[in-house]
Subunit: 397 residues, 2 copies
């Protein structure tokens, strides 16, 4: 059994704060401070350029990739770290479209994170071959998979509501129709059980600054089905994806397997923080995590619904159909969330009216949930959000 | 006058090491340790998600961009930070090729860093419209600029020899021929005087982990000529380049000006280290830096040539035709460089036979140069490099 009291102690959580926004930015693992400080002083400072070899910086995107792989059921050597999630979406999509050259439809849904859709629009325009991004309602994805579809690009868990797709069904239908699947794990990795190897998905991408707690702007990851990797011809053909980067040849030759999804110089400092976050994950069984997430989520929903009649649950009521967040709609949700945050419960807001709360068993327990419910109820029932100071929108919401 | 004794004190340099590899990875600015630690503890740890607004993380790629701009003559609001240099090359090239739609030639030279060429090969293949990457000898660039050229993509300073292009002449010839210019500043930014605004160049890209000392894997930058920026339609159309990222619209609309060259979530920890490096640069006048770099380089060349007849200068002898590095050729250069490094003088090696030495006035003085010459002479004249332990190649050279 995973010891969640122990994992909680691995984080620096501010006094008096209940953090329900780990679905957006995970908190600071205490050990990340010493890991990053050591990387700066002992490696960058002392070894200087020689640290690329001596401290293993150059290999780290693969080694950390393997560690992320353990959280999402990926075999060793099938994930590599780097860049941002948007860039990884581009890499996966460009490869997939080339592998399904005769087809023109990129199928996605309106619950996908907009950046994925934007990247698809950018690729379609660049290719200039009549590719169409077809964005249907989440419940219509399955029905729209047919022989015209080159690739189905789906974020498993909706960033607003936490609604969870049945990825196994989508992958099966897509493969039956000869389409490829790109699975965005932004709200899945470190949140729910994922079995990349077992589902036979073609590409997966994700970020590590949310549930994985890798730090603000932590590097993204990309998974390519091992038997497919050598068929991909990278559109972003940077030197670290080259077969022999330090030969400095003038012509690009893609490296073996997942290595070809590397592009530029790795983000060395950020990888140290992410490594510390993964040390915590080494103690966690994903089935335990999922069970605990559902337990805490159900408690939170029950509490809020009992105490706050003005809030409407917009997450699926069935825990199996949810990721690891719970969202409520409220017309003045922005102001209400500011008032809640002001009282030490940090969630966030997504337009037009969604109050989001991330449920993260690594550092939350029943007491946190109960106290959060109490504070939310106070804000709602005493209309504390009507205070003028909560009405002005910040740049980032 | 810039006080180079003061800037030297701003770095953590290991005892007994003379660091002549700041052209590959700059050393650790002492203040970077506290800046990164504070970012982790006081911002990520304490403010959590609210730091995007409260600590100004979201704005930082622009603000740091303006600070980098001061080193390269870019007007405020024309540079933004993010990703890696290879990705920035892609952004510049994709935009340039679209702006010169009727033309098919990307002109570059064999002295360009291979990753730039690889990215160009990737774009040409993706576009599938018959674009040709024409890679000529550095001295033949000017003569090959004609009306077929869409874009001239040049790294100003050769990463192997330090040979410096006459960018003003290239830009003028390119503009006369109706071509655009992408200027890679990897070995220029923080090394020599650059005047992006004054030269009228169209795009510039660069990294910040070399002469700027931003740290391993520090974010790259991109400059777009201000009057051109709104005409660029980003191929990598990520959400942070959107006109209103937090509106979460389903359709991409490019943000204003340089903002559209943003893509994914910014590398927040890395930006803190880079900020500390730029604090040192606030004390530096670029004309002083250049003069000092030439002074130290000339001293180094004179010393090595006098003491080491086996080494052949492959950098231009004319200091005006060099960047801020000095390279010598030697058939057993790899082993020789290992032996030199083993004795505390850190330079590096580039195939097939080049020993590279970066000359960085921010933290090097005459004593360092003289001691380095002495050690190199000892290795060469006593053939210390013949020791078997220096013959085995490391993964990263």
């Amino acid at each position: 059994m995973t010891d969640f009291a122990a994992t909680r102690k691995a984080f620096d959580l501010p006094e008096g704060v209940i953090y329900l926004d780990g679905n957006s930015l995970g908190p600071l693992p205490t050990a990340a401070k010493t890991k990053v400080a050591a990387r700066m002083q002992d490696e960058w400072g002392e070894m200087l350029i020689t640290a690329w070899n001596r401290a293993g910086w150059m290999e780290e995107p693969r080694l950390i990739g393997d560690r992320v792989g353990k959280l999402v059921g990926a075999p060793k050597g099938s994930i590599v770290m780097g860049d941002t999630l948007s860039i990884k979406v581009h890499q996966a999509l460009a490869s997939a479209l080339e592998l399904r050259e005769g087809r023109r439809v990129i199928l996605s849904d309106t619950g996908n994170f907009p950046s994925d859709l934007y990247m698809a629009q950018g690729i379609a325009r660049t290719l200039d071959k009549g590719h169409e991004l077809k964005t249907v309602a989440p419940e219509d994805v399955l029905a729209n998979i047919d022989e015209t579809v080159a690739v189905v690009m789906i974020t498993e868990v909706d960033y607003r509501t936490g609604r969870k797709h049945d990825m196994a069904a989508i992958i099966e239908r897509a493969h039956d129709a000869g389409a490829l699947v790109i699975w965005d794990l932004a709200h899945s990795a470190g949140a729910i059980e994922v079995d990349l190897g077992g589902t036979g998905v073609d590409f997966a991408v994700g970020c590590t600054y949310k549930f994985i707690n890798g730090g603000p702007g932590a590097p993204a990851f990309i998974y390519v089905r091992p038997d497919l990797a050598d068929q991909c011809r990278p559109a972003l053909s940077g030197w670290l994806g080259h077969e022999a980067p330090f030969a400095f040849d003038l012509d690009y030759r893609a490296g073996d397997g997942i290595d070809r999804m590397r592009c530029g110089t790795p983000p060395v400092l950020a990888l140290a923080a992410l490594g510390a976050a993964l040390d915590v994950w080494d103690q966690v069984d994903m089935a335990d995590l999922r069970a605990r997430s559902i337990e805490l989520s159900e408690r939170f929903i029950k509490g809020v619904e009992a105490a706050c009649p003005a809030l409407t649950l917009v997450s699926p009521r069935d825990p199996q159909a949810r990721g690891s967040q719970v969202s409520f709609a409220f017309p003045d949700g922005y102001a209400a969330m500011q008032a809640v945050i002001d009282r030490g419960v940090i969630g966030d807001f997504r337009a037009p009216d969604i109050m989001r709360f991330g449920i993260t068993p690594l550092y939350l327990n029943e007491d946190d949930i109960d106290k959060a419910v109490e504070i939310i109820a106070d804000v709602m029932n005493n209309e504390l959000w009507k205070d003028a100071k909560y009405q002005t929108r910040a740049a980032v919401t």
